[in-house]
Amino acid sequence: MIMPQMGFDMQEGRLVRWLKQPGDAVEKGDALAEIETDKATVELEAFESGRLAKLLVEEGATVPVGEPVALLEPLAAAQAPPTLEGREVDGAARQPAPTREPAPEGTPAAAPPSPPPPPAEPAPRGISRVARQMAAEQGVDPATLQGRGPGGRILSHDVEEAARQSQAQDAQPAITAGEYRFVPRFHDPAHYLGEAAAPQAQRLAGQTLGEHPFAQPPATTDPETTPPAGDGISSAGEAAPAPASPAAPSPAPAEIKPWSRMRRTIARRMSQSKREIPHFYESVQVLMDQALAFRVDLNRELPDEDRITVNDLLVRASALALEEFPNLNGTYTDEGLRINPTVDVAIAVAVEDGLLTPVVRDCNGKGLVELAREVHRVVRAARKGRLKPDEYAGGTFTLSNLGMFGVEAFSAIINPPQTAILAAGGARQQPWVVDGQIQPATVMTLTLAADHRVTDGVEVARFLNRIRELLEHPWLLVNPHLAR
């Protein structure tokens, strides 16, 4: 068993603890150990069934990718039929186990010399480029596929078959981009555009909120639109659990709910970020009326599944602005700032008990609609738990948008090793003073948290102003150089 590569930029992993001991029988797929990468804590699974022969590293050790961590003895060849294959297995199993000292305590990161590759390592399976692309589009994880092409190669038919099966299993209709549709609560573009689309928009919002992990309780985001309960009695009052009396003694010891791995990872990374990165914050208010009208206009021309959301516009505006402010797209290292060749925007997505940050790569290599499509795809994959490691690792900037949850403004914690994170509040109508006159306007507050080691207040101000310019003149989102 080797330290697996769980993201394309993963170089090493820390072995948190062993879940099996030498001599334990293991089934293919059993968790052998917990491994922590800089992105997540995951389980190391047995590549095949057999017996765990020897642990090669101690708990807490950091091991480079590809280095062996344990020896797994395949099932005894005696059980295999007397065939050519059987003899081969037999031969492999008899290979002497390379003897190694466990990594000495106190020097967990030291890479021991490379022994011969362990016998239990499976042959890598191939996948055609066509199948890989198709799998990405359909949200199918190639690792779950059984290739039925030559030599077990995964081909497009295998992906199609898996996609068909998963569709058949999902009794619910596939989640469409509608889920991420921004439905403003405090204003509706349809009102001032004279378009009677509001009922439909609300219906969609109701449908999709039901599937959303943050949907509970919807009333907190917008009490006005909460439908009255059918029997006329406040359902909220009934449903709410009776508050425990503060005076009541609690004889039972408080229950401790253990942290999930995701929460642990979030805790570690966020603490590290706040501890190590000198954050500073700047906010701007953006008038969103033009952008919202632009979006409604644009969506008239687009098929339902490609409908652009406010979130998409924010990704687009951020990406275009980052192109002009490469420092904010850079990666801090002790030697200097790494300038990243592409803008890869990570999007914070709420999932059960935590959040994920799927990444849209090379945002500026895509047109607006293409970008939106990719945003929808990765967000959907994140919600369905089908993100591949290279789809949540390695962003160069993060967008966190709580606008749809009724948040006015907030500030976020930088997602290391990135330099900045944009926090978007909701767009809501409010009085706005123009030339001494009060007018209604739809206003959104954007707050950027940035690393003061990399950048300073003026640069961030210019960056935020460029984002504002792009959003307030939304045709620039199609071509940012129109006005130049």
Partner: protein
């Protein structure tokens, strides 16, 4: 008294014997029943002897054309009977090879005609011996068809099998059917000097191939003096003394021939196999199977010509491997008939794998194609054989290579590359990005892929 096996295979052709070997590799006890020759039609009366004859004809053609290269040979004479003898020797040698493989792998070979006598037993005729088996693999193959009402007499009206043992060269040959068998015999007979006419009902020779390939072949045949009549139907056939008169629909004048070769297709050997008694379903004589080659009777499998097109030896072999691996409970590869390579050894050779342009469009692909003519290929020019071309069919969305179609010298050997490209789902970029050695005919494959991307170099 009946002997028990894990698997009994009926038929020793490229389906049956390959299935038997694979089953032995998987540790099954296997018996194989063969009534005539191990190796089946392919090895005895098909692929192999025709390749021998075509090679002899190729040698003759080189000598005949030697003058073109400034090589004077004097009068050339060729003995067709000797060519037939050589082809028989090749077949016999390979049949012995299969026999050796059966012994080496421990397959129990039983001579006789196998017939289902129950869901788990095969009776061998005429001995009456019974073989009991957990699983049965039917691989009884096919045989040449004729036109309705026309008897294959072996004297004037021949099947390919008859033709392969006829040592006399006919003066005038009419070949009915312009498929692979028809055009291969046309090349053989024409090179030896016979007058050859090929009749095809459909608009082109090799009607399953890309029309560009067929057109290139038809042009070459015309240059060689082979009469090609496409879009014609035989209305009547009459024997007059030592001659045959063929009447074509809508034509008064009959075609006269000293020999007629019927090459109108293959029919399955599904009669008297005991299928009906076990309720095994057939469709126009072909045994119906699922994707694991299992018949409608669980435990009984069928492969090869017996189950229908593509009726090719290598398809039968692969189907047999799938069937046996399924019996053994192993994960089986997916059979994709259109991804099976197809090779025809006429002069010039025709080879293809994957979808034609029309098939790709039918399936809804957004099709791109690239054609590279061999006139622009250095090796073909050096060989003075520039009549061929390579056509690559791809699709736009992923750039997948869907089909490769070749006509030209020795293209059946280049087909392997095309087969790899299609079966691995290579993209046009990948195929076009692979450096090919210069000078080779195979360079044209890369160039055709680049042509589909709009950036062929040499055209």
């Amino acid at each position: 008294m009946a002997e028990r096996f894990d698997l009994v295979v009926v038929g020793g052709g490229p389906g049956g014997y390959v299935g038997a070997i694979r089953a032995r590799q998987l540790g099954l006890r296997v018996a194989l029943v063969e009534q005539e020759h191990l190796g089946g039609v392919c090895l005895n009366w098909g692929c192999i002897p025709t390749k021998s004859l075509l090679h002899t004809a190729e040698v003759l053609r080189r000598v005949q054309e030697a003058g073109r290269y400034g090589i004077e040979t004097g009068p050339v004479s060729a003995d067709f009977g000797k060519a037939i003898d050589l082809s028989r020797q090749a077949a016999q040698r390979l049949a012995k090879g299969v026999s050796f493989l059966m012994r080496k792998n421990g397959v129990h070979v039983v001579e006789g005609r196998g017939r289902l006598a129950g869901p788990d037993r095969v009776v061998v005729e005429p001995s009456g011996e019974e073989l009991v088996a957990d699983k049965i693999l039917l691989a009884t193959g096919g045989r040449p068809r004729s036109l309705p009402g026309v008897e294959l007499d072996g004297e004037l009206v021949l099947s390919s099998r008859h033709a392969l043992s006829r040592r006399e060269l006919p003066g005038r040959v009419v070949i009915v059917g312009g498929g692979a068998i028809g055009v291969e015999f046309a090349s053989i007979y024409r090179t030896y000097g016979a007058q050859v006419t090929v009749l095809e009902m459909l608009p082109h020779l090799l009607p399953n191939e890309e029309p560009e390939l067929a057109q290139a072949l038809e042009r070459a045949f015309q240059r060689q003096g082979i009469q090609v009549r496409t879009g014609v139907r035989v209305a009547g056939l009459a024997r007059h003394g030592g001659q045959v008169h063929l009447t074509l629909e809508g034509e008064a004048e009959p075609l006269e021939a000293d020999m007629v070769l019927m090459a109108v297709g293959t029919q399955p050997n599904s009669e008297n196999l005991g299928l009906e008694e076990l309720g095994i379903e057939t469709d126009r004589g072909f045994v119906k199977v699922n994707e694991h080659m299992e018949t409608t009777r669980p435990g009984i499998y069928a492969v090869g010509d017996l189950v229908g097109p593509p009726m090719l030896a290598h398809v039968a072999s692969e189907e047999a491997v799938v069937a046996v691996e399924h019996m053994a409970g192993r994960p089986v590869p997916r059979l994709q008939p259109e991804r099976m390579p197809r090779a025809t050894y006429c002069e010039p050779q025709v080879a293809s794998v994957g979808l034609t342009e029309a098939q790709a469009r039918e399936r809804g692909y957004e099709v791109v194609t690239g054609v590279f003519p061999l006139q622009a290929n250095g090796k073909a020019v050096a060989l003075q054989e520039t009549g061929g071309l390579v056509k690559v069919v791809g699709e736009r969305r992923y750039g997948q290579v869907l089909g490769v179609h070749l006509v030209g010298p020795q293209v059946t050997e280049i087909l392997a590359e095309a087969g790899l490209a299609v079966n691995m789902e290579t993209t046009l970029e990948e195929l076009g990005g692979t450096v090919h050695a210069h000078p080779t005919i195979a360079e044209a494959v890369r160039e055709a892929a680049l042509a589909a991307l709009g950036r062929a170099i040499h055209i």
